[in-house]
């Protein structure tokens, strides 16, 4: 599996990292390499109506157990994000194929298209399509940095977006879904844990607070007469941190735009981008409510107006309890909620799903430096194979 991952990076990456952005030539090259690996064990890929790649190793029973992830990456991405899970799934099928024993249950491999949403800004495309939660009309209109529509670009890749929802029939044959992934965070490394069962994916509330005060001359506007929107936003950013800590979630103010944004002007406008995450729906709702209250108080305190723009939201997803228990069984008992989204979060809404995480060195992902200790990568693949075998045997 590790050799396959290195060959994938050699074929499709460059000095700046992984370049397997979905619907591009390097991504098609990655799919071609995946097809070669499947052919080596006598399997042929099938592309569904949404552009997801499936292949099946016949077992004793059905429904099948699906193993997978995504082979697409962000631009200048890491070599492991997504690809690790896809290549591990290939490894598990290869091990069964070469063992001379039919698996107790049909094993499917799935490479979901465009998990990252790097080109059109819509994450979890392929896994949303097969679970029926894709807004195809919205995606069709989305444009990339060059102004090309997703409708046109996907058509060039053989996908008719009007038919993408038909991919849903693929799940009829699938009983459960398992995914191996890198953590993309620093928790496991900091704990010295080599592996964890993922309990689910956090819910997310993403919004933008817009504060409007009064622009003024930095020299001639006395402090008591100011209506400084920038300081209202700064106060809110600090409140977001405090609220996240108190509620046991994470909260981030990733961007603060002051207007007019010059050193000699009191900012009359400020926009603050806020991202709140929690694995418990109630706590997430409380975080959002408290953030709104904090923003309102910060605005009131500086005689500013406050407007709120919703950006995006998703409910928390809990993975199947039995599968998480089985995952913990091969992961030394360590459990962790994922702060990032994964295809498994989409699938979990309609089928039992679960994931295993291996550590990320320094927690770095979506960057060339993304890496995991080789021993952890090996242990992860072996544990994933054992996990799949146990679940398939049920």
């Amino acid at each position: 599996v590790l050799a396959d991952l290195r060959e994938l990076q050699r074929r499709t990456g460059d000095n700046n990292g992984a370049q397997r952005v979905c619907w591009t030539e390097p991504w098609r090259g990655a799919r071609a390499y995946l097809t070669e690996l499947l052919a080596e064990i006598g399997l042929a890929p099938e592309i569904d109506e949404a552009g997801n790649l499936w292949s099946y190793l016949e077992g004793e029973r059905e429904p099948a157990l699906a193993l997978g992830s995504h082979i697409d990456s962000v631009p200048d991405g890491g070599w492991l994000d997504g690809a690790y899970g896809v290549m591990a799934a290939v490894g598990v099928l290869r091990a069964w194929a070469q063992s001379g024993t039919r698996p107790p249950r049909t094993l499917a491999i799935v490479d979901f298209a465009d998990e990252e949403g790097a080109r059109f800004g819509r994450s979890l495309y392929g896994s949303s399509a097969v679970t029926g939660s894709l807004d195809a009309a919205d995606l069709a209109r989305a444009v990339d940095a060059e102004g090309r529509t997703a409708e046109d670009v996907l058509a060039e890749n053989g996908v008719n977006l009007e038919r993408a929802a038909n991919s849903r029939s693929r799940l009829e044959r699938i009983g459960a879904y398992l995914e191996l992934h890198i953590e993309q965070g620093p928790v496991l490394e900091a704990e010295g844990a080599g592996l964890a069962a993922v309990t689910g994916c956090v819910g997310i509330e993403r919004l933008r607070f817009e504060f409007t005060g009064q622009t003024g001359h930095a020299g001639t506007t006395p402090m008591p007469m100011r209506r400084d929107a920038g300081l209202a936003a700064a106060t809110t950013a600090l409140a977001v941190e405090r609220i996240a800590v108190e509620e046991g979630g994470v909260g981030t103010a990733g961007r603060l735009d002051m207007s007019p944004g010059i050193v000699t002007a009191v900012p009359g406008g400020a926009g603050l981008a806020v991202d709140l995450r929690h694995s418990a729906a109630g706590s997430l709702a409380r975080m959002l409510e408290r953030a709104r209250e904090a923003a309102g108080a910060a605005a009131d305190g500086r005689n500013c107006e406050l407007r709120e723009e919703p950006v995006w939201r998703i409910d928390p997803v809990a993975f199947d309890a039995e599968l998480v228990k089985a995952a913990a069984g091969v992961a030394g008992g360590r459990r962790l909620a994922s702060g990032a989204l994964h295809d498994a979060a989409a699938i979990a809404r309609v089928r039992p799903a679960a994931m295993l995480f291996v550590p990320s060195i320094a927690g770095i992902s979506h960057a060339r430096e993304e890496d995991t200790a080789e021993a952890d990568l090996r242990a992860g693949v072996i544990a994933f194979g054992e996990f799949a075998a146990r679940v398939a045997a049920r």
Copy 2:
């Protein structure tokens, strides 16, 4: 004077405001109109080596008393900033010329070139040149938004920057300098005062704090493991406000750039633009020291690195005590320190100087909406004439 100001705006402004940016066609048009007004009272303009315009109404004695300001504006600027003082000076000379009486002392009018520095980013150009504090080599290399050098643009306007310092000889004939200007702030309006003697111009410390932490995934980086440079900057912005209030100055954080600046990333970098002003040098130095301490503490508290970039600084300028007293005599006793810079601040370093302020409606300046009640404009011109007469008679 008010009719002259309206005609100036009709000739050189548009629906977006005043467009008399120095070294442009509308600015040359404003100078042409000024020349017409001087000709009406038998005066001819003289352009010095720096491009400042001077004219002299002979009086009983010398050295002369100079009255002036600047006729240039920012783009989309206000109709009064600078032009009010120039047209009032014309009005004072006109009143003397038409009175049939020689003034007790020669009265000079001066229109300083490029006070705003709107095109090349260097304020107080003309008044710095005549006081010997201009860095002509630095300005020569400065480029405008179209990539043209100041050296070339000034040459087109008849100014050889290598000879600009020779304009200093103009001050040999000048004993003192008086300037009438709009406040550009909300203080006088809020107090219901129609006029004020300006005691001096504040000193300014302008700098940029650069915080470096660690960029992280907004979902997978637990709160206690973050090194959030954006929050270090937000904390510092709030400290700047607190310090300004406590020290009795003004402090502004006009811009905060978070990096990478996306909603899904903990900011690993942040740049904060800070502007500190105080009329007392000791207090200004203490504000700077405390701002540095606050930035250092904010960085340390979040395990971030801190780097400081100086941007610009100027010492406070106190206007001549006797002249300020005389100004207060015609301004009902109200005194105010200017939070903005003016040509008088440059001149005050080498000659006695003082200013009068009239209120600005809502404190707005450098914008089309800039305005002053007509009664205040009239009262300002009359008081300025009286001020000039008293000083000239000494």
